[in-house]
Amino acid sequence: MSTTAPTALGAPRAPGAARPAQRKRRPGRTLLRSAPLLPAVVLLGVFLLGPVISSLYGSLTDSSLSGASAANAEFVGFENYASLFADPDFPKSVLLTLVFLVASALIGQNCLGLGLAVLMQSSHKPVRVIVSTIVVTAWVLPEIVASFAAYAFFNDGGTLNTMLTGLGIPGVNWLYVFPMLCVILANIWRGTAFSMLVYTAALNDVPPEITEAAEVDGARGWQRFILVTVPMIRRSISTNLMLTTLQTLSVFALIFVMTGGGPGTDSTTLPLLAYQEAFRFGELGFGTAIATILLLVGAIFGVLYIRALKPEVD
């Protein structure tokens, strides 16, 4: 029996039998076809994998800005990680990072962005233009400018307290008393536009017939949204969660400008802790170990999103 001939109806193909010939490709041709990808692969290797590997290696050394270990950094194995886990600042910093991430990105930016996108779908055009301009403005500002704007708003003699005093309410020193709340609000303000744009695009792709059909079937507004719209934009939700997570994990300038990680260590998230160890205390190896942990946190969230919101195969 020829392996290439179609098998007779009802007769199962022998296990291990080769696939039809037309699916076979000569290896030489495949290689040739991949050749244009080569420069990209090399660039990725040099500029992406290279730094990752050198940072992993750096976190295993006692490299520092000055002193004997600046001249000859020694390989110390997992010593940096051991002392990191023994450092009382570390768990607090991880916790603050997670609080910042969950409150400002996952809940704040995502929900607010989705909410705005949904509301704007059913609103009139002038409203839509005005709202989206306002929201996008915060996003368009360079990070450092947005950070100073947020600082000017929250600081003791800032806009917020001036307004409160005008209303006869005594202001508090927001950045000092509620540092995390301030940076979370600032990050929501700054990042919501991104989620809003992603969700607006996703909602526009939902065919109106489907929601109309659900309406005919008797689904009420929120039911239509939860049961029909959300599953249909699932892939966008997953992508957006991932991107906002990674953006938020890397937020540095905003917190650095607004609170400097303080008071004390009350708003020292992992990027600030890494900066402080590496450039304030000169412990490059130790700082790199923190950065590596940050990388891991990002990777863990990435995997979680893919698992939880498994996008359908196309």
Partner: protein, 452 residues
């Protein structure tokens, strides 16, 4: 398929966010150009003026040579980090750098600095530098790596009028820490809008807080940070806890700026250019250079300063001998170990520190002169009414531990200060955290328990 794309995107994005700081250095310059790195920040512009002047002088006498000035606009701790990063790459390493004395030993160990002994041997001006000044720029190997530009001492600057308004007799000479706290209480009671006392504290002020704040206190107790006979770090001392207690009294007792003001990185500039001239701050524990801001050539000229401001030495904790204390440091000019033209770099250093140039810099930056010929020059002694006072303090001054781990330990002191001033920890808890941190830095074998 989609899944894998997302995974790759995640790794890509995560890596980019972590490593976006990498950049390539340019070409390493040539032997006809020397690169000079120094700090220029806030009110400290005198170094910039000085370097521009020396550049002109140097280029006039060295035909074909160019001096590339690299003013690093950064606050103190960031200056050290930026300078160290410049030094790590041959392409950016400076030929001449402005180097704090406390960084000399650790930067020598890092291999950033070149020994100057061969040049000094032929330099007649070296006789003008007294022995203790020479040691300021010495490495652990005994060679000289930095030439001091001036030194400094620290004391309490106070506003005569504000103290008089509160009913405190001037000239005011506190004899114990309690005298300072009492005066601060009195000022607070009589004029609640005035900030009674400032002592630099917290991570934002880095070495300024550790040395100008904390060690000004600790040096007035019976304890030390580092036992130089045993070459060990002293842990668990009463003096350490008491010094943190003083910080707590000031900040948690409402006798200083608010902790948020104090943690502002720019508070040093604010104090000397706004609060003091504006009569908002009554007492300020600060360096001899503070008046450099107010003199005619300073960044915030304030002609009345010498009528309003007075200085008092910092007392010891309970008035014990010698009754007063101070801390000294100072900055040097040092040569980069990678210099392609060390002879020219040396010429630049010796030009910058010649008698005339030292004199004009010491006057402009309100430095305590280290060159004997400058210190005795009437042009120097008459330039500023406080020079005599601060020079005399040298007799009772203290120096920071001469140990290459100092800069790391010093950073831990600022952590302890900040957690006490913000009320996160009691002085006792903060001292215990500090002890653990020091053991982590130097190893248990290099520490010892305090004798009391």
């Amino acid at each position: 398929m989609k899944q894998r794309h997302l995974g790759v995107a995640a790794i890509a994005a995560a890596s980019v966010l972590l490593f976006s700081g990498c950049s390539a250095g340019g070409d390493g310059g040539d032997a006809n150009t020397i690169k000079v790195a120094y700090q220029k920040f806030g009110q400290f512009t005198q170094m910039d003026d000085h370097m521009k002047k020396v550049k002109d002088e140097f280029e006039a006498s060295h035909e074909g040579m160019t001096v590339e000035l690299v003013p690093i606009e950064a606050q103190e701790a960031d200056y050290f980090a930026k300078l160290a990063l410049m030094n790590r790459s041959a392409a950016t390493a400076p030929d001449v750098m402005y180097e704090d004395t406390f960084m000399v030993k650790t930067d020598v160990e890092a291999g950033y600095l070149a020994p100057l002994d061969d040049y000094i041997a032929d330099w007649e001006d070296w006789d003008q530098f007294p022995e203790n000044a020479r040691q300021a720029g010495a490495g652990d190997d005994g060679k000289i790596y930095g030439i001091p530009m001036g030194t400094d001492t620290r004391a309490i600057w106070y506003n005569k009028n504000l103290l008089a308004d509160a009913g405190i007799e001037t000239p005011w000479v506190p004899e114990t820490w309690d005298d300072i706290l009492d005066a601060a209480e009195t000022i607070k009671a009589s004029s609640p809008d005035t900030i009674p006392f400032n002592i630099y504290s917290g991570k934002g002020q880095s070495e300024g807080a550790s040395m100008q704040g904390f060690q000004m206190l600790l040096s007035g107790t019976d304890d030390v940070l580092f036992d130089s006979d045993e070459q060990k770090w002293v842990l668990g001392s009463q003096g350490f806890e008491d010094s943190l207690g003083f910080i707590e009294d000031i900040y948690q007792g409402g006798l200083g700026p608010t902790p948020q003001q104090a943690l502002d990185k720019n508070i040093g500039t604010t104090i000397n250019s706004e609060w003091i001239p504006g009569g908002e701050l009554a007492m300020s524990l600060d360096g001899s250079w503070a008046s450099g801001t107010w003199i005619e050539t300073g960044s915030s000229p304030w002609p009345e300063w010498s009528d309003v401001m007075e200085v008092a030495p910092m007392p010891t904790q309970d008035g014990s001998d010698p009754g007063r204390t101070s801390m000294s440091g100072g900055w040097t000019l040092a040569m980069g170990s990678g210099s392609k033209n060390p002879d020219a770099a040396w010429d630049f250093i010796s030009t910058a520190l010649s008698k005339d140039n030292s004199l004009s810099y010491d006057v402009a930056a309100s430095q305590v002169a280290v060159r004997t010929d400058v210190a005795e020059d009437p042009e120097y002694t008459d330039a500023n009414p406080t020079f005599g006072f601060f020079s005399e303090l040298v007799a009772d001054t203290h120096f920071r531990p001469a140990n290459s781990d100092y800069s790391k330990v010093s950073a831990e002191i600022t952590v302890a200060m900040e957690s006490v001033m913000t009320g996160q920890q009691t002085p006792e808890e903060a001292a215990a955290t500090y002890d653990q941190a020091v053991i982590g830095i130097v190893g248990e074998e290099n520490t010892m328990a305090a004798s009391d």
